[in-house]
């Protein structure tokens, strides 16, 4: 199987630099890293990809069974690393991808040498003595929101959205397309994301880890970043003065600075 094509892998930046993998979370695709890439391109080989079922991945490779657990997405991440034969790469995961990165680093320690967790949450639903920020009912509401917002997705347009590297002009016409996915696949990803519990997996993280949290994050409320930091021995926690769940979009300068300093410290 052609993983590079399946996961719409793009490689940019300095081909001789250490590898940094940027992994998007639930919602959109690798375009989320548009403001991050310029800060890394000079010194690092930057690898981006779309999980199967997101962005311009090969939708035909989707299987509800595989992607009903975060392990399925972690396999995507490891397979992308394998396909490019990455060694000691830094895996930067946003949101649920932070946990996917922890699973991938555990599964392929030779591939992933460090983790950056952007706005991570190991569990979104509240539990005894743990505040994730959501009730199970809230997740159902999100699923309903997904159903009423196809963001330009339709069966007729899907082939154009799902991969038309040879016809980039189509991308211009498709407003919202980079967040557009088959609603059935988006629903699977949403359920897998928001009903997962990765708290135990954090204890197995053995690589240098940077945790980036935002002061005003609706999805990962304050306290969750500290939980992640405390669960991963030796990790670094940085709280960004940023609102929302996407500091790499809402506060790119501060995010990039924290990222670049952490990367420099690894060399």
């Amino acid at each position: 199987m052609d993983i590079v094509r399946r996961n719409n892998v793009t490689v940019t930046g300095n081909p001789h630099g250490p590898s940094v993998v940027l992994a998007h979370g639930f919602g959109c695709d690798q375009n989320m890293w548009r403001l991050t890439v310029p800060a890394l391109a000079e010194d690092y080989r930057v690898v981006m990809f779309d999980y199967v079922g997101s962005g311009r991945s090969d939708a035909s490779a989707f299987s509800e069974d595989r992607y009903s657990s975060l392990d399925g997405y972690a396999r995507d991440a490891v397979e992308v690393c394998d396909a490019l034969d990455l060694r000691d790469a830094v895996f930067v995961g946003h949101s649920v991808s932070a946990m996917i990165g922890a699973l991938a680093a555990d599964a392929a320690p030779e591939r992933i040498g460090a983790l950056v967790m952007v706005a991570p949450s190991p569990r979104y639903v509240d539990d005894d003595g743990y505040r994730g920020g959501f009730g199970a009912d809230d997740i159902d509401e999100l699923l309903a929101s997904l159903e009423s917002n196809y963001l330009g997705w339709s069966a007729a347009m899907a082939p154009a959205i799902m991969g038309n590297a040879e016809r980039p002009e189509l991308g211009e016409e498709l407003k919202n397309s980079f967040c557009a996915t088959d609603p059935d696949m988006a629903r699977v990803f949403a359920r897998t994301t928001f009903l997962s519990d990765s708290r135990e997996d954090l204890k197995r993280v053995r690589v240098p880890t940077l945790v980036l949290e935002c002061t005003q994050d609706v999805i990962a409320p304050q306290g969750v970043g500290a939980f992640v930091h405390e669960a991963i021995p030796g990790s670094v926690l940085i709280t960004l003065e940023a609102s929302g769940h996407c500091p790499h979009l809402s506060a790119p300068a501060a995010t990039n600075q924290a990222l670049v300093e952490f990367l420099a410290g690894l060399r």
Partner: protein
């Protein structure tokens, strides 16, 4: 009526005083008044989502006072939790990337606990140096539209369920049909000591339920019986008749294998079953017995036919002839029927060929108006004379396939022959 945008109201026309007053009132409608009382919600926020300005319409929908909102709440505070999640994972990133986003379905919370489905469009206002300054949003009441969409979604799901159910039903029916079809024809022909047999069946209907039938089965001692026929009609009704016919003939033959007796029994059964049903049904059939002579290897064939095309005998010397059975009546039409009989002897290399009229009535020629006919069949058979039953059936199968859409009826073929060299009995076990 066509209106041009640059058309000016004519102040000199009669009866225009009222419209003048309306026009004046419109001009007095300040921008502020338009903003506050617009038929949609207006909202401006800082880039971090803090609400900086909100109009009266939206405050009314929310049931909130301006003082409680401006500078105190963020846009996401107005949303349901699911909407917040959607905002953070889709809405906000898209707005950041594109500078605008339109027609996103969200739900706003009312102070009384109610919810209003809305459609939100937002645009980012940039400063002179291109830095994002604030976000402007319009909020449309989408209650009617949402209920309509939900109805569509519900129907789509129902249609999807129905389609899945229909597919499952179809698979189940096809399975049932296949089982039924197998009960109409022998899986494999029995091995007949000193003889060879081959058959072919072409079902015309897409559900593969046919109205033709054949069978070969052992009688007492070393005798065997065979039959082949064609019930009137096609499809499930024909298949039901076929089933009755097949098992009646088998049972009748065990009681008395005389061909006329067997067909007479079938005649009585069909006549009794279908007379008075308002749906008279009948069949044509050839029934016969095979009586091998172990000393000579010859096989004596006794057969009787009711309304069925004559059997063909292909001789080892390369000739072929019909074995006429004229005057036999359709089976099941009359309470007492007459059936024609014939007898022949098969020597080494001879083959008896039985067929149904699907073969002879296949339409040929470019315009598919001519019938293949008995003369053409005889000529074709003469070319095959001297060959094994398998080879004859193989050649005829090729002929049938060549008819293409000219073959529109069920067709059954059965060939019974005496091999040139004694056939090895399949009952003989391999010493290995």
């Amino acid at each position: 009526m066509m209106c041009r945008a640059d058309q000016q109201p004519d102040p000199h026309r009669a009866g225009d005083e009222t419209s003048d007053a309306v026009f004046a009132a419109l001009l007095e409608d300040s921008a502020e008044e338009l903003y506050e009382s617009a038929p949609c919600g207006y909202l401006s926020t800082l880039m971090d989502g803090t609400i900086a300005k909100i109009n009266g319409t939206l405050l009314g929908w929310l049931g909130l006072e301006r003082e409680a909102v401006v500078g105190r709440m963020r846009f996401t505070d107005l949303l349901t939790v699911g909407g917040k999640l959607y905002h953070e994972t889709h809405f906000a990133p898209l707005l950041r990337m594109q500078g605008e986003i339109s027609g996103i379905a969200l739900e706003i919370k009312q102070t009384g606990g109610g919810r209003i489905p809305v459609l939100v469009s937002s645009v980012v206002k940039h400063g002179s140096t291109g830095e994002p300054l604030l976000i402007r949003a319009t909020v449309f009441d989408a209650r009617d539209r949402r209920s309509y969409e939900e109805e569509l979604l519900r129907r789509r799901k129902a249609a999807e369920e129905a389609r899945k159910q229909a597919e499952a039903d179809r698979a189940r029916l096809q399975n049932a049909l296949a089982v039924l079809q197998q009960s109409l024809l022998p899986d494999i022909l029995p091995s007949i000591p000193g003889m060879e047999a081959a058959a072919h069946y072409h079902a015309a209907s897409p559900d593969r339920l046919g109205g033709d039938f054949y069978d070969v089965f052992p009688l007492d001692g070393n005798r065997f019986a065979f039959f082949l026929g064609d019930v009137c009609g096609k499809g499930p009704q024909a298949a039901a008749l076929t089933s009755l016919t097949r098992y009646t003939l088998r049972a009748a033959a065990l009681h008395d294998p005389d061909p006329v007796c067997a067909l007479s029994t079938l005649n009585s059964v069909l006549h009794e079953r279908y007379t008075g049903s308002g749906d008279p049904r009948y069949c044509t059939a050839v029934f016969g017995t095979l009586e091998p002579d172990p000393a000579t290897g010859q096989v004596t064939v006794h057969l009787a036919a009711g309304g069925h095309p004559p059997a063909l005998v292909l001789r080892a010397d390369g000739t072929a002839d019909y074995l006429p059975t004229p005057g036999g009546l359709f089976v099941g039409i009359l309470p007492d029927a007459h059936f024609a009989t014939a007898t022949t002897t098969l020597d080494a290399g001879d083959t008896l060929l039985l067929y149904t009229d699907g073969l002879t009535e296949a339409r040929t020629g470019e315009d598919r108006t001519a019938l293949f006919g008995e003369d053409s069949l005889l000529a074709f058979a003469a070319h095959q004379a001297g060959r094994s039953p398998q080879a004859v059936i193989h050649a005829l199968t090729g002929l049938l396939n060549g008819f293409g859409d000219g073959l529109d009826d069920d067709t059954a073929l059965l060939a019974l022959g005496v091999p040139v060299r004694p056939a090895t009995s399949p009952a003989t076990r391999n010493p290995e």
